[in-house]
């Protein structure tokens, strides 16, 4: 009898511990998703222009799921200690609903990360950079974002200056190939923002132009955000799964 008592106590202890971990992870998830939402990386306007800001949807869901997990974990601790059937049933059902939402958020974040190939950015850059339509705000944003990206990260294009030579672009329509084999932002600029050696830049002499592409600089933060939301959420869900199974087992053993 004492042994069965101990079993119950151990199970209760484990469930309480499991819920404490869920509560803390919920807070961490909320904090991380608030960070992702409020801290857009430099390339975020480009993502918005591709109409692909799923990572934000995933992060917003993550914020609410995190808070829900925290609240439910407190409910779970109370329910386990009180060994109350109704409270535990409510807890289990609400947790499964939260599980489903968090699952949606994880899958969205993982899919979003997959869809951001270099070609997506390349096509957008070629079609919209320096497109001479002053009425279109989102094109101007694309131009401004790319100029800043190229200046700050000392890079050119998505894969390199060859992007501007291999493909026709909106930029090429207004800027002749002889004068602008690639945009001026691809040149090494001095403190005033003028090319250090314009002829050297046009000729492609290393040291006077940026010969590497911007994709690495862009994809780093994008991937970090997506992986943070997706994989951390996945880990929480695996733990929650175990706790919920244990809770159901415990619930089935409680007498009325």
């Amino acid at each position: 009898m004492a042994k069965s008592d101990d079993c119950v106590h151990i199970l209760q202890g484990l469930l309480v511990f499991g819920n404490v971990v869920i509560g803390m992870c919920g807070i961490a998830l909320t904090a991380e998703c608030i960070y992702v939402v409020s801290n857009p990386h430099g390339a975020y306007p480009l993502l918005r222009a591709t109409e692909n800001s799923d990572i934000h949807a995933a992060a917003w869901i993550g914020i609410f799921v995190g808070l829900a997990l925290f609240a439910l974990s407190i409910l779970g601790i109370i329910a386990v200690i009180k060994a109350s059937r109704t409270l535990l049933l409510v807890y289990i059902i609400l947790m499964i609903i939260t599980f489903a939402f968090e699952m949606a958020s994880c899958i969205t974040a993982a899919t979003h990360q997959d869809s951001l190939t270099p070609n997506v950015f390349l096509k957008q850059m070629l079609e919209r950079y320096q497109k001479s339509d002053p009425n279109n705000n989102s094109d101007n944003e694309v131009t401004k974002t790319w100029d800043e990206l190229m200046r700050q990260n000392h890079c050119c294009g998505v894969n390199g200056p060859s992007d501007w030579q291999e493909y026709t672009s909106a930029f090429r329509v207004t800027h002749s190939d002889a004068d602008y084999p690639w945009p001026r932002a691809c040149c090494v600029l001095d403190a005033k923002g003028l090319p250090v050696n314009l002829d050297g830049c046009k000729l492609g002499v290393s040291g006077y132009y940026n010969s590497n592409g911007c994709y690495d600089a862009m994809s780093g933060p994008v991937n970090a955000h997506a992986w943070g939301v997706a994989w951390f959420g996945f880990a929480i869900l695996c733990w929650t799964f175990c706790v919920l199974l244990g809770t159901m087992f415990y619930w089935s053993g409680i007498e009325y």
């Binding site: 009898m1 069965s4 008592d5 079993c7 119950v8 591709t50 289990i92 059902i93 499964i96 599980f99 489903a100 699952m103 994880c106 899958i107 993982a110 899919t111 990360q113 997959d114 869809s115 951001l116 190939t117 070609n119 997506v120 390349l122 096509k123 070629l126 079609e127 030579q165 291999e166 493909y167 026709t168 672009s169 090429r172 002749s176 190939d177 002889a178 004068d179 084999p181 002829d199 046009k202 000729l203 492609g204 002499v205 290393s206 010969s211 997706a230 994989w231 996945f234 869900l237 695996c238 799964f241 919920l244 199974l245 159901m248 619930w251 089935s252 053993g253 409680i254 007498e255 009325y256």
Partner: protein, 250 residues
């Protein structure tokens, strides 16, 4: 004898020189793209040649011109630069070749100093493309080519030396961005793993919930390990109530 000998030797030499005096000396290596100096030697409308260093050494008085042709056989060396027959603005519709980038030997000192990039960019002047008053404009090439080039040294208006024609030069053609594959069609292993595993976990949870409700919903679950400690817990509740009731009575 010496004189006879010299006259005899002079005669064949004179015979050899006579045709040369009417022709042009062929010098140096043919013009070539500056591949050894630069990475970007062609764009869509320009190309970059090595400067003709140490090629026209013997022609200090000459002006060295670059001839760019789409049909090398049609070019006549006696055509003068700056005339309508060699004007850039009429190329390639009316004329098959134009002359540009004139320089004296002083611009091409020999030998080439090490570490310097000595190139000629053909097609870099965009301001005079339509300006007929500048027929020797070094304007952007009108199409992908192929083009042949050679250097021609003129003293006054007399051609004195030339290089052979270069290899045909093809410029780049750009593709349309529509040829890029459609956006994000691949699915990584990570995303598939997450989706699959989470779906399975959710399914198990729902199944377990349904099973628990069905089997244990109305009645207590009889055969679980808690059944023995159940009686113990009931007793504990009883003792709890036993203690409570006397307290309530009081």
């Amino acid at each position: 004898t010496r004189t006879t000998l010299t006259t005899l030797t002079m005669l064949p030499l004179l015979l050899l020189l006579l045709p040369a005096a009417h022709g042009i000396a062929q010098v140096g290596p043919p013009p070539a793209l500056a591949k050894k100096q630069l990475e970007w030697v062609t764009t869509a409308t320009t190309f970059v040649l090595d400067q003709p260093r140490c090629v026209f050494r013997d022609y200090g008085n000459a002006v060295i011109w670059l001839v760019v042709a789409q049909d090398k056989d049609a070019f006549n060396n006696s055509a003068g630069p700056g005339t309508p027959e060699t004007a850039f603005q009429s190329f390639p519709e009316s004329v098959s070749a134009y002359m540009t980038l004139n320089a004296t030997l002083g611009s091409y000192p020999c030998p080439k100093p090490a570490g310097e990039i000595t190139v000629l960019r053909v097609g870099s002047e965009t301001s005079c493309t339509k300006d007929v008053s500048r027929p020797t404009c070094n304007g952007p090439l009108p199409g992908p080519g192929p083009y042949w080039v050679k250097f021609l040294a003129l003293e006054g208006s007399v051609p004195v030396a030339e290089t052979v024609w270069s290899e045909p030069i093809m410029l780049r053609t750009a593709k349309s961005p529509n040829s890029l594959p459609a956006a994000g069609s691949g699915h990584s292993a990570g995303m598939i793993a997450i989706t699959a595993i989470l779906s399975i976990l959710l399914a198990i949870l729902l199944a377990a919930l349904v099973a628990t409700l069905v089997f244990c919903g109305s009645e207590s679950c009889g055969s679980s390990t808690f059944s023995k400690p159940e009686s113990v817990t009931v007793r504990r509740y009883n003792t709890h109530h036993v203690y409570d009731q006397p307290a309530a009575r009081l």
